[in-house]
Amino acid sequence: MRTAHPLSRLLVYAGLACAAAITIAPLLWLALNAFKTTEDISSGTFFTTEKGWTTENFARLFPSDPHAAIDITKKPSVNFTRFMVNSLFISGSITLLQLFFSSLGGFALAKYRFKGQGVLTVIMLATFMIPGPVLLAPQYELIYNLGLMDHRGGLIVTSMVGAFGIFLFRQAMRTVPDELIEAARIDGCSEFGLYWNIALPVVRPMVGAFCLITFMGTWNSFLWPQIILQSQDLFTLPIAVNQMRGMYGRNDTGLILAATLLSVLPVAVLFTLLQREFISGLTSGAVKG
């Protein structure tokens, strides 16, 4: 165990390198091909181009005059800014709302003793067992009756707070020392102040992890927006890219890959910033029990 044979070390590194190459290759291929013309992509080379590297694909995603730009007969272009803003707005607002309500609920479950606490905890855990598809049809009906069809509100209102978030924060809030809370209470801190000023700062790593998990989930969510959104002005990135692929995918691979790259980038940047918190948040529920 203590002394590994140099050859076996070499084998481990070789195995890891092979696996990493297979993992990274499609991403690298995506990043390179987004800067090639569709003709060059069709030639199947990896690192080289015949016509040279180009940002033309991206330029067509952000036309200078979005109203006059659509000419499907030749080089199609779309107003991609719109979709990025839509995605940012919806993912951002859902993340902030979930963060606030989930951490507040988790705080209540972890740091108070009250009647009905057991029942609420059981309900929360039981919610994990309900698969999403069973709720799709009745939620659609509900959103329709609320007049929120084809409306951003229809996406936000159903996912403002979830059992998963409450559970994560309940686990995290347990690490806040009771003495800290008691002392602040004696000093005249309000109950909301205990949450906001005392508990929330202590669980900051979980805040980072939770934001990333939630943001990623909503950023990539497809089925529910596909059902709720109809007008192109409201499309989020997954819906928009899906539609673009349907319209131009066969003969404009460059445009589609550029759109995909831009859609993936924000989450990748966010993850790189919050990597440590994310991994610990992800595994905290599973490994520590």
Binding site: A137, P138, T253, I279
Partner: protein
């Protein structure tokens, strides 16, 4: 006088969750049962049909095809993806390994892409002639036909789906396994090594029991997630179930039969079938997890 007393605060703090649970989970759940007994045309016109939706499903060959495809996909995830994820974690768990977090980041990165964008990307990766997969295979295997069709050939659609899911999720599951492996006490390995156990015996006697709870958790997560796969095949196969429905999954069946054709009642019924299957599978996995407890 405080606005919130210590007694009332937890109720107020949990009010958003309670309200959301009642309005968007419990009420729809009950409504879903009722809805599944109706034929609907859009959200307004309803006609009571009793068990008609369920009877239709049982007589629909497409339903069985969707069920079979989904089962194959789920089995592929459990039998191929999880062992590979565990293998990667074991490689990364060597104490002398340099750059562990860089390796981990590399393997985890596909998960960041998300199902829809992964599917769009792999739609190009699987393309005949210029696609990355055929180009790569042709470079490694002499004589591999460069124009192999992955997404147009019914026999290759499911392998393509399983490969894509493997690429996307192996690193994600690896993160769980690695965290579990690192919580197994080193002394146990050293004791086993002193007792003369070889690597395989150490794996079976120390590693597997040590990570069993996480293994069960990840298997459950993978089963539930794979059984509800929709975005991946739908986007990979150009908004269709693929050639001869080879990529039709059960949630895609729900979407196409329920939402595309506007029959919410039918969608609700399919939803309940999915819920029932998942419940049974979870119970089997829970029981198996308990039976395998050593000691």
């Amino acid at each position: 006088m405080r606005i919130l007393s210590r007694r009332s605060a937890p109720y107020v703090f949990l009010l958003p969750f309670a309200a959301s649970f009642l309005a968007f989970t419990l009420y729809p759940l009950i409504q879903s049962l009722w809805l599944s007994l109706h034929i609907t045309v859009g959200p307004r016109a309803k006609l009571f049909t009793g068990a008609g939706n369920y009877a239709f499903m049982l007589s629909d060959p497409e339903f069985y095809k969707a069920l079979r495809n989904t089962a194959v996909f789920t089995l592929g995830a459990l039998c191929i993806q999880l062992p590979i994820a565990l293998g990667l974690a074991l490689l990364l768990n060597h104490t002398w390994l340099k750059g562990r977090s860089a390796w981990r980041f590399a393997f985890f990165s596909p998960y960041l892409v998300g199902q829809v964008f992964t599917a769009v990307l792999f739609g190009v990766v699987f393309a005949p002639k210029y696609g990355l997969l055929n180009q790569g295979l042709a470079a490694l295997i002499p004589g591999f036909p460069i124009d192999t069709k992955w997404l147009e050939d019914p026999a290759r659609v499911m392998p393509a789906l399983i490969m894509t899911a493997l690429w996307m999720h192996a690193g994600f599951n690896m993160v769980y396994f690695l965290a579990a492996l690192q919580s197994v006490e080193r002394e146990l390995y050293e004791a086993a090594a002193i007792d003369g156990a070889n690597a395989w015996q150490r794996f079976c006697a120390v590693t597997l029991p040590g990570i069993r709870p996480v293994l069960a958790f990840v298997a459950m997560l993978t089963t539930v997630g794979s059984f509800q796969v929709y975005e991946l095949p739908y986007n990979l196969l150009n908004n269709s179930p693929g050639p001869q429905g080879a990529g039709l999954t059960i949630v895609m069946y729900l979407y196409l039969r329920g939402f595309d054709s506007g029959d919410l009642g039918f969608a609700a019924a399919v939803g309940w079938v999915i819920a029932a299957v998942l419940l049974v599978m979870s119970m089997i996995q829970l029981r198996q997890g308990r039976e395998r407890v050593p000691r």
